[in-house]
Amino acid sequence: MPILTMREAISQALWEEMERDERVIILGEEVGVWGGTYAVTKGFYDHFGPERVLDTPIAEGVIVGAANGAAMAGLHPVAELMTINFAFLAMDQIVNHSAKLRSMFGGQFNMPVVIRAVGGGGRQLGATHSQTPDAIFAHFPGLKVVAPGTPQDAKGLLKTAIRSEDPVLFIEHATLYQAKGEVAEGEVLEPIGVAKIQRPGRDVTIVTYSKMLQVSLQAAEQLARQGIEAEIVDLRSLRPLDMQPALDSFRRTNRAVIVEEGWRSFGVGAEVSARLYEEAFDYADAPIQRVAQKEVPLPYNRELEQAALPQVDDILAAVQRVL
């Protein structure tokens, strides 16, 4: 199978869906002439033209709002938020409109909008530009929240999201664009709302997603050298949240560690932990551990920032606590 970077996989998904369906348009800051601040839409403007690749003013509220309106009118717009930190400026459009309009009007129309947003820390961008607030968006029924951790999933999930008749917040990770991985030939489609075992193992269950999937896989390598086989469950989407693979794994290993990049409190790990206990209380041989970001606004200084972000060693320590 061909090896692609995350960037190439996402770019291919967008390109293929735009070729496939005239209803797909892209709008956002610097998606056109610039080619995307992360070069994801490089070449799109020249190929698809300014009618389908729209550079917007710096105005997140109307970027998502106009995408919502275009979706109401039957297009399948892909709105790009330069980073998920700016999603807070479009919060009302995302949680009050993308997520609610369909049901509030009794299902009269669909909201086939995709909101792409780049998240994650680790690039010394300071407190307002380094967040991983994925969990808060997953709190809202009506929305679907997808966050792939491999090129295969990025391509397959984004294509599914664009074809979907429902609103999808598609979260990419700024430090994963260079990550490489195999991507199947031909039509690649992955279902939204289905978690996936990314590494089999018998000793401990690690539940994670997005960038932390890669960090968890590194931790698993080291654990393997110590004879500890970690099974890694990639949630892939936070809403719908598919707990089945994690539950099946936990019922076998009886030990779980949840790894997320965002802050611990009211984060993804809390929900996953609560559900594991709700569904498999009797299988827990040790307290489920959460590995997450220290609860601080991320500082600029590199060492401080790295100290705040979850590292391989944090995962290893958490695994030791459950064994």
Binding site: V62, G65, A66, L75, Q108, P141
Partner: protein
């Protein structure tokens, strides 16, 4: 148009009593006093033109051709309502009639209007999106972002500001740097007009001109000066205005003005108008009967309509569903 305006008036008067009786819940914002605006503007729209407004939406909904029955049923939260009883007074809509709601977050539907117009333009349709909003809504960021976008992208939107002089209890003078809303359009180099909002014939003319302008040259801001005779919503103490002020405005009641116009003309007799009013009274009573006898939405409805697509099957097996996960 006379039938329409009187229908709005009577239906809302009836709704007010039903609200007192506790048969209507939530917020109820009456359009009484502003009927000429919605009626006059929508009178000139073509079928392909989309309409979207804020939560004060009963009049606009009826003008778009939604039946009194469907409106009243929604107010009573019935399955036969425009939104299956899930939206309520603030969220009427009927996309078959190109009426896209009823939106309760102030200003938030302006970006939606821009987006719908973008879609129509993209498809090469000559449809215009008519977006109604209040004076108070022109101070929120959405207004700025949407008007600017509509200009740079030449989006076919007719921006209609219903300036009823107050946003809840705050007068335009206290909330806005300029008391003529039309002046805000100058900041975008957008053609604009400020007009009389109590005389439906003048409204219709202004709407005709501005709608034509949008079809040929792009966005246009039409400000119509009007007044709401009732409180902002039910139970407004109205400390912010005097009863004199209200009375003075009530003297040019849009229905009265229009009735005078009609009676002035040769063809229409007063008794015909009275007959019209009688027909409206029946229509409203029929709507109330229909609504009251309509079924409430079924309990399962709670989990319907949230997503267009069913969840992947496997999720169903997660027994948290039993605990009320619903669509999560």
């Amino acid at each position: 148009m006379y039938h329409e305006m009187v229908l709005v008036r009577r239906l809302e008067e009836r709704a007010a009593t039903l609200y007192q009786e506790g048969k209507i819940g939530g917020f109820l914002h009456l359009y009484i006093g502003q009927e000429a605006v919605g009626t006059g503007v929508i009178a000139v729209r073509q079928p392909q033109d989309r309409v979207i407004t804020a939560y004060r939406d009963h009049g606009v909904a009826l003008s778009c051709g939604i039946s009194a029955r469907a409106v009243m049923a929604e107010l009573l939260g019935k399955a036969t309502g425009t939104s299956k009883g899930k939206g309520g007074s603030m969220h009427l809509a009927d996309v078959k009639r190109n009426f896209w709601g009823g939106h309760a977050i102030v200003g938030a539907h302006l970006p939606l209007a821009a987006g719908m117009a973008l879609a129509d333009k993209y498809r090469g349709s000559d449809a215009v999106t008519i977006c109604f909003f209040g004076d108070g809504a022109t101070n929120i960021g959405y207004f700025h972002e949407s008007l600017n976008l509509s200009m740079i992208w030449h989006l076919p939107v007719l921006w209609v500001c219903e300036n009823n002089l107050y946003g809840m209890g705050t007068s335009v003078e206290r909330a806005s740097a300029v008391s003529q809303i039309r002046q805000k359009a100058e900041g975008y180099g957008m053609p604009n007009e400020r007009g009389e909002g109590m005389d439906v014939l003048q409204v219709r003319q202004a709407a005709e001109r501005s709608l034509a302008a949008v079809r040929s040259d792009g966005p246009f801001l039409l400000e119509l000066v009007t007044y709401r005779f009732r409180g902002h919503s039910m139970g407004d103490p109205e400390r912010y205005r005097t009863s004199d002020e209200v009375q003075k405005w009530q003297e040019n009641d849009p229905i009265g003005i229009f009735r005078r116009h009609l009676s002035a003309g040769p063809q229409i007799k007063a008794d015909e108008l009275d007959a019209e009013e009688a027909r409206v009274a029946d229509e409203v009573e029929d709507a109330v009967r229909f609504a009251e006898s309509s079924p409430a939405p079924a309990p399962e409805e709670l989990f319907q309509d949230i997503y267009a697509e069913p969840e992947p099957p496997r999720l169903g097996s997660v027994s948290t569903d039993r605990q009320g996960q619903g669509q999560a």
